[in-house]
Symmetry: C2
Amino acid sequence: MRATFLYEAGDVRVQDAPDPVIERPTDAIVRVVRSCVCGSDLHPYHTMSAADGPVPMGHEFLGTVEDVGSEVSGFKRGDLVVAPFAFADNTCEFCREGLHTSCPQGGFFAAGVGGAQAEAVRVPQAQGTLVRLPKDVDERLLPSLLTLADVYATGHHAAHQARVEPGDSVTVIGDGAVGLLAVLSAKQLGAERIILMGRHKDRTDLGRYFGATDVVAERGEEGIARVRELTGGHGTRAVLEAVGHMPAYEMAVGAVRPGGVISRVGVPQYEDAPIGFGSLFGPNVTLTGGPAPARAYIEPLLPGVLDGTVEPGRVFDRTLPLEQTPEGYRAMDQREALKVILTP
Amino acid sequence: MRATFLYEAGDVRVQDAPDPVIERPTDAIVRVVRSCVCGSDLHPYHTMSAADGPVPMGHEFLGTVEDVGSEVSGFKRGDLVVAPFAFADNTCEFCREGLHTSCPQGGFFAAGVGGAQAEAVRVPQAQGTLVRLPKDVDERLLPSLLTLADVYATGHHAAHQARVEPGDSVTVIGDGAVGLLAVLSAKQLGAERIILMGRHKDRTDLGRYFGATDVVAERGEEGIARVRELTGGHGTRAVLEAVGHMPAYEMAVGAVRPGGVISRVGVPQYEDAPIGFGSLFGPNVTLTGGPAPARAYIEPLLPGVLDGTVEPGRVFDRTLPLEQTPEGYRAMDQREALKVILTP
């Protein structure tokens, strides 16, 4: 089959690779119908050394079941399925609590498993991981369904962990796909005031469509001052941080109201950060978030996608065939495209 | 009057000072009946330079009202009162939300206000700050009532912010007064498993009396391993950190279960700390806590103290007259005393 590999920073290649096969009785093989490029794929695209490559890329996909291992039941060849970006058994104590990203049987689509920017993918723990979609689903819904694999689930996780509730005030940092879907999620949970911090007008316009009430283009101290100005001087009760770089964390600390919560879903590109008296402790600010247990959210979020209540698939603004995946990375990196969907 | 001042690290003096007077119409003057030395007083006792001194000390007291400003109503001379360690107007938006430590009119008993390790103290925002106690209260209850000013309220804040609930598993780091009262508070909120990390047997015995089910004397990696061993490998859902030094934070990160919460009430003696993928983010751990809005907790916690359901005053194991306050600091610093109560 054809599959995408990152060789080193900036070097993405689509090449021949062995067809995936059932390796364990809990595996399934899924033929990819749609996949896409993630903002988090851009982190290794910026920094990975050749010594760490090549690695298979892609962790978001819709597909049809092609084969299942002997311990996988309830799925048959041809079923349309979506998978969360982290596989999990869906039966352990963590999965039962909705924290599938901490499943001891779980893991990520990466080296040793395979990537989803490919014609087919091996899915470990398929019974617990895959979610079947309706057979006759309208093809126009595929982009929105694909967002359940990661970006919509991750945006929802940000708002969910921040316990956004009706009437709430929320700042969303980042106008990438996750930030915009954090706006959508905050709106769904009833937030009244949603301030979107982002500098790309086409993206922040989509953010307004999803429910942002204000847009702040300034960054750093100016951005913090603007959020405080909009909120009577104190900031918003919740800040959803969908970037992962230190300046975004610093803006979150500046924009959160005393007693409020910073919910991070952008993968942190730092380990140490300020959390002492002058940042989080003094004003009793809570810090939460992490990788989204997307599997826990797919079923609750699915009905709104299927009936058209929400259209998270609007974050896709470019469609490319799998062979042009490297162009997808380039376009997203250059901010020419918000999010690129890939077809076989 | 006589009052306590810290001149520099290790140098505490009781000396003559001007009697406090009403400076603003919102002030009251309270004659101190009981005060005490706090674990947090030991931080400047260890590190303060002579250039920053002398500073008035003490922020926990019970007393009788001696005088009130023209804008203070509802209190009369002779009323027995307790005050939270942070004064506040109790009417602003933050106070109404129960976050009195963020009151714009609020502040701490410190330079410019006066300290409570003294014969009398000026209380700013007295109307909002003071809570009247029953006139005929049994003198044996005074130590427990005094803990409402800080250590019991702070232990309660740790458990409250961690949202401890019936059946919960909790680790408490630190066997000082706050740690022990965090144990008591976790027990009150229904925690089933309470692991107390501490090395002083007389203190951990009191912790067992307050509700600890297990005691871990080991520290660092060994302490973490022991907590994990006691909890099926994963740690406890909540960790209440009542120390404030970096090793205690590191133990908290090691002892918390994925998806769990670290609630800090020990004043952090650091600003930067690990919060990235390898510490908080990857396992979706929440970090919360801060200075306790004691004012919000005094009224709800008062009935249990008055009827003897709880005896938080057991943390006091030495009584000294005000003149011997320096000996109180020395004894607490040397771990000879857990917490020293001062009489006029």
